[in-house]
Symmetry: C2
Subunit: 717 residues, 2 copies
């Protein structure tokens, strides 16, 4: 994300800066309407013609120049809620009415707040009626400047039909926002209504987002309502709030620095275990055992001031004494000893510290955590954790953890912020024999975080898919940037926990009130192209399934089912997952029909009916695999004596393998309905590249849907 100013002309920037400085100097964080107008003019934000009247006479002559009817609004730095103060009148027509309105507005404002400094009344051309929309920006704690677009008026508050993008938004971003609200159709004109000028509306979103991005000191902007019509857009009201303080920037590492240290972390030649122990039950013992039992081929150096040897390896008093280069120091000592040992590791030039101990920020010991962060930054030691279970790098036989070893090598890298979730990952992976390239605990994320891991996994040839559990992002923009790069190569699944506990946020603008944590996360993660898992189980299942499935090359999904009932549920799932049933061309329909009983249903789903022999499954699945117009297959199997589960599994796996030999790579998923033998059949299929589940029609289609979402984000479709 480029950091340069995006404003077209420095003059304009200077003009805005002067307005902001004046407001700051006056001790105000809310700008007045005339200040808003000045800024709007500088950034090409169309507002209705207007002026400030300080007397009733001035109001009349202004209104005469502008043309009737006019809107009139109180201007006071002390009155934020103008309507509430009786400070707004609209549709004022004629000199007498303007005079009367001036008097009444000023009178109301005085009655509302006798102390208020009243600068006058803004006289404004009535906006041409159009669709009321809202455009605004907020400063999100995770993502920084974020632009919002939604329906205006009361509806936006009730329906929260708003969408968000990172600022500055490109024109493509802005256009995607117009399609990103539930009421998107309204913008296109419904029931004879006219379509709005999309280019002008998108242009306004771009300008507002640039304004927010160019001035970090602007906390929130509200253009509400904006009237959008076929003839253009105009912001009837502009509201700008300044930030109380300055945002803090974190230390940044270059991509190359990240790659270098991450490579040494994930593929180390030697590992030191600080706090290694001979005593079973101790973390330092478990870590040593797992490193050894896991089959790590590099050097393992126990460090323990009180032992000569640990588990048959020579032990060192200090990490400083370990001979040669060390790539990773695993810390298995109490929190209070970490800083001193980290200092030693830093002096020795060890690039990675894996901090298992808890007792830092998560227990309120913020100072202790800041201390180790400072040591790490000073010595260039990257910190993983603290408060983690460690990590696995299976292709390098590395189990640097106190849990149990895991050795099913495969294509998915999993990370978790929480240790509990890490244990669930481990158990799930083991029971489903999920092929894993890495499992990494992130814990307190004092230093290394998701974007560092993404940067590494994006290039790691063993990793085909990345799944991350996270509760927050330290730097949402860095994550988005890393995710966007990664997604071009492989899918990224995210389980964002804490969706619903955003709670009430104090907000000074409508946009602020709408920008609940999760609403912003959801839109921006989607824009970044990650696949958001709705829950833990889905994250795990996607992680298991995505590396197994080839990427689809088109949108045509065909369901072939032995059970009509499964066909209906599979069709439901297809729609739920944003996929579409292929409209089967007549010749292909005819071809399917040749293989199924006359009362079976071709079309899509292809219902081969329940009592069919293996040859019917075989003929129809082969047809689906070999016809180039079909891009993905969803199979619904029904357990019968005629075609038992393992017969179905074997024939399907064989057909998929045959197709692969012919260069045909299509995602195939299956739902198996039957007695318990279907479980074995599903396991058999999964290991052979078919994502298969028993007793559910939803999971196989959800996995296919996740693969499609990635393929779309990666530009493959």
């Amino acid at each position: 994300m480029a950091q340069q100013h995006t404003a077209g002309a420095t003059d304009e920037v200077a003009e805005v800066r002067a307005v902001l400085a004046a407001a700051r100097a006056a001790g105000r964080t809310a700008l007045t309407a005339p200040e808003g107008k000045q800024i709007a003019d500088a950034y090409g934000i169309p507002v209705p013609e207007e002026g400030l009247a300080e007397t009733a006479d001035e109001a009349v002559s202004l209104a005469d120049r502008i043309g009737f009817p006019v809107a009139m609004k109180i201007v006071s730095p002390d009155i934020l809620h103008k309507t509430e103060a009786g400070g707004v009148q609209v549709g004022v027509t004629g000199a007498a009415a303007v005079r009367e309105a001036y008097t009444s507005i000023v009178g109301n404002a005085r009655a509302y707040d006798a102390e208020a400094r009243i600068q006058g009344v803004q006289v404004q051309r009535m906006a041409e009626p159009g669709l009321e929309v809202l455009i605004g920006t907020v400063t999100d704690p995770t993502f920084g400047k974020v632009v919002a677009f939604g329906l205006g008026g009361v509806l936006v508050e009730v329906l929260k039909d708003v969408t968000f993008r990172l600022a500055p938004a490109s024109e493509a971003d802005a256009l995607s926002m117009l399609d990103g609200i539930r009421a998107a159709e309204l913008l296109k004109g419904v029931r004879g209504g006219e379509a709005v000028d999309r280019t002008a509306l998108a242009g306004l979103i771009v300008s507002v987002s640039r304004l927010a991005y160019d001035f970090p000191e602007i906390a929130e902007i509200d253009l509400n309502p904006v009237f959008a019509s076929a003839r253009g857009v105009v912001a009837a009201d502009i509201r700008i709030l300044l930030a109380e303080g300055e945002p803090v920037r974190r230390r940044q590492w270059s991509k190359e620095e990240i790659r270098t240290s991450m490579r040494r972390l994930m593929r180390p030649g030697s590992v030191a275990v600080i706090g290694a122990s001979n005593e079973p039950g101790k973390i330092g013992n478990s870590v040593m055992r797992n490193l050894i039992d896991g089959g790590f081929a590099g050097d393992i150096h126990p460090v323990n001031p009180k032992a000569d040897g640990i588990l048959g390896r020579k032990a060192y008093k200090s990490v400083k004494d370990v001979p040669g280069e060390v790539d990773v120091a695993v810390f298995a000592i109490p929190a209070k000893f970490v800083a001193a040992a980290l200092e030693e590791a830093g002096r020795k030039g060890i690039p990675n510290a894996v901090l298992i101990p808890s007792g830092f920020a998560e227990t309120g010991e913020h100072a202790l955590q800041e201390e180790i962060v400072e040591i790490g930054e000073r010595h260039g030691v990257r910190l993983l954790g603290p408060n983690i279970y460690g990590y696995y790098s299976t292709w390098h036989d590395l189990c640097a953890t106190f849990c149990t070893p895991y050795d099913v090598k495969g294509g998915v890298a999993l990370t978790s912020q929480s240790g509990g979730i890490g244990m669930a990952i481990l158990g799930f992976a083991r029971t489903t024999r999920t092929g894993v390239s890495a499992i990494v605990g992130l814990g307190n994320k004092s230093d290394l975080d998701e974007d560092d891991l993404l940067t590494y996994f994006a290039d790691d040839p063993h990793t085909e898919c990345i799944a991350m559990h996270l509760e927050d992002l330290k730097d949402g923009r860095a994550f988005v940037a890393a995710a966007r790069e990664t997604i071009r190569k492989k899918p990224v699944v995210v389980l964002k926990a804490g969706r619903t506990n955003a709670g009430a946020k104090a907000a000074g603008s409508h946009t602020g009130a709408l920008a609940g944590d999760d609403a912003v996360y959801d839109d921006i993660l989607r824009q970044a192209g990650v696949i958001r898992a709705p829950g833990l189980n889905e994250m795990l299942e996607y992680a298991r399934a995505l590396p197994v499935l080839p990427a689809p090359r088109g949108d045509n999904v065909v369901v072939i089912t032995g059970a009509g009932g499964s066909g209906v549920l599979l069709s439901d799932a297809i729609v739920d997952n944003g996929l579409s049933l292929m409209e089967i061309p007549p010749d292909l329909d005819e071809a399917f029909r040749r293989h199924i009983p006359p009362f079976g249903a071709a079309g899509n789903p292809v219902d081969i009916t329940g009592g069919e022999p293996p040859s019917t499954y075989e003929a129809t699945i082969r047809l689906g695999l070999e016809d180039p117009r079909v891009h993905a297959l969803v199979l619904g199997y029904w357990h019968t004596i005629v075609t038992p589960p393992m017969v179905f599994a074997e024939l399907t796996a064989r057909l998929v393998a045959e197709a692969k030999r012919k260069g045909i790579h299509k995602p195939v998923v299956a739902s198996l309905a039957g007695d318990t033998e279907v479980e074995e059949a599903c396991a058999y299929l999964f290991e052979r590249g078919v994502v298969a589940y028993p007793y559910t029609t939803e999971k196989p289609v959800a996995a296919l849907g996740a693969k499609y979402r990635w393929a779309r984000a990666a530009g493959l479709l």
Copy 2:
């Protein structure tokens, strides 16, 4: 559902009937505005003052009487789309303008359709502005007359923010509709807007629904827009469409008839198997074997014209020859022989025919199906199927099916319309050892359907929960009535398949266009109090979990977790499932804090932190169980060496059992994060009344949520 007319006065009914008859006589199915007005007046539907002008002079004098401004609309039985025809002008003020509008409207209408019969121009008082809403009715193929309420104007079309109830709607129904739309807050007044008159609005919904219900010949009613304000409601436009034909009524059975035959079906003393066979692989052989192997204690009579004995039992040439009463005849013969055998069963007075064979309506053989239905009705034989796997009644050791026996007796009755789904039920139940009272295939539902089964299961002492897979309902109203009765006693879970393939329906009204199959099903099933499962897996999991959980007695849910990460995800799931985290009172908070480390978090979730011994789990769970202000517990377990999975499972099961002995029955669910040992721990817990799942935070909370939804529908909360 009472069938009598609900109208207050027969005069009004007669008046409406006359208007409808006149329209019918004129060969019209769309009523004109004046006809609509007459009907509205009869049913107390407030419409703006208006009149029909046949000349420009009449229009002027009408407008004078009504008061300016007025709306003017063409009246022609041949012009349905008045705006399109240039036949509408609003806000017309002054005699000259009215005259001009009259001429222009009639001219436009003539230009639009030279053949149109023009009766004049309706002159109408302009409705007082208010919130625009829509009220309408449709005739749903499943549920009959259904009333709709939603936002009016263009938004209703774009956002489809509409809710449905059976007509006639009670006032309580109508009030619940006001809260049933996403934009419900708008009705209460937002940002200074006034609240609408809810009583008047609900009253209008009731009136419109009564009108639709009283006149089966009315296909659709549209009141769009209705202006609702603090001062009342007024329907600015009323549109009534008549049905083309008359609805057909099905044969009805009394509750007592249903109970009698269902009791004999589910607890038979003797079963005849028509088509019993000695030949393995034949359905008639599998059914015999399953009946015998399942341990059925009653008489089993094989019927086969070619055998003397089958599997050691005396065989009869015909079911007529079987001695004594027979409660159930299971048919295991080809479709073409069913009618003749059913005739014999009918003559023998057998009350139930279980029709396994396929080859009826599902393969296009509608005549064959109609034939057996006629035979069944004539002899009073109730038909289960055809095209089914049979059924299980486990507490009576009855496996009347060609699948494999199932004998884990328990509290859930499962039914499925599709055989494939039935097989999934069987496999799932077996692998999870789900306690089952019955599994029933419904297939083509030529006769017995979900409402018959509900009527039986509601009274069955072995059944604690009913789960039904269905693709359609033959009689939605009978289902709703049976469900409402059942739900007072036990939960009913429904998986409604075919949610998304409603497809485009031809509709003559806005309400009709909005009444997609699933929208109506969803609202009406929810109103009936059933728990709708989003997918097959959820239906199965709810069926497994609901009988295990006691009913909650209040809304206070407390999460106790060893993993903070699980706590966050469990909290997300709690909100997703419409539950709420208890706000823990200070004394209880204090009590929890006494048991957890100082850096743990009390509040809710109660985070006991990861490294705690069994005693911490024990103390906090006991506290949650014993404090009467806590109504349900959600446990998050984290696998550690200190508290291994089975230790957690045993202590939790023991605490729950102890509480039960003290008369404390609270639902407890658990999410276990850990290595594979957690799977055994979950099975152990499930068998002991704690709904526990590994590797997921969502499923246990979803099960709890389902139990709460039922408890609310049953009026327990």
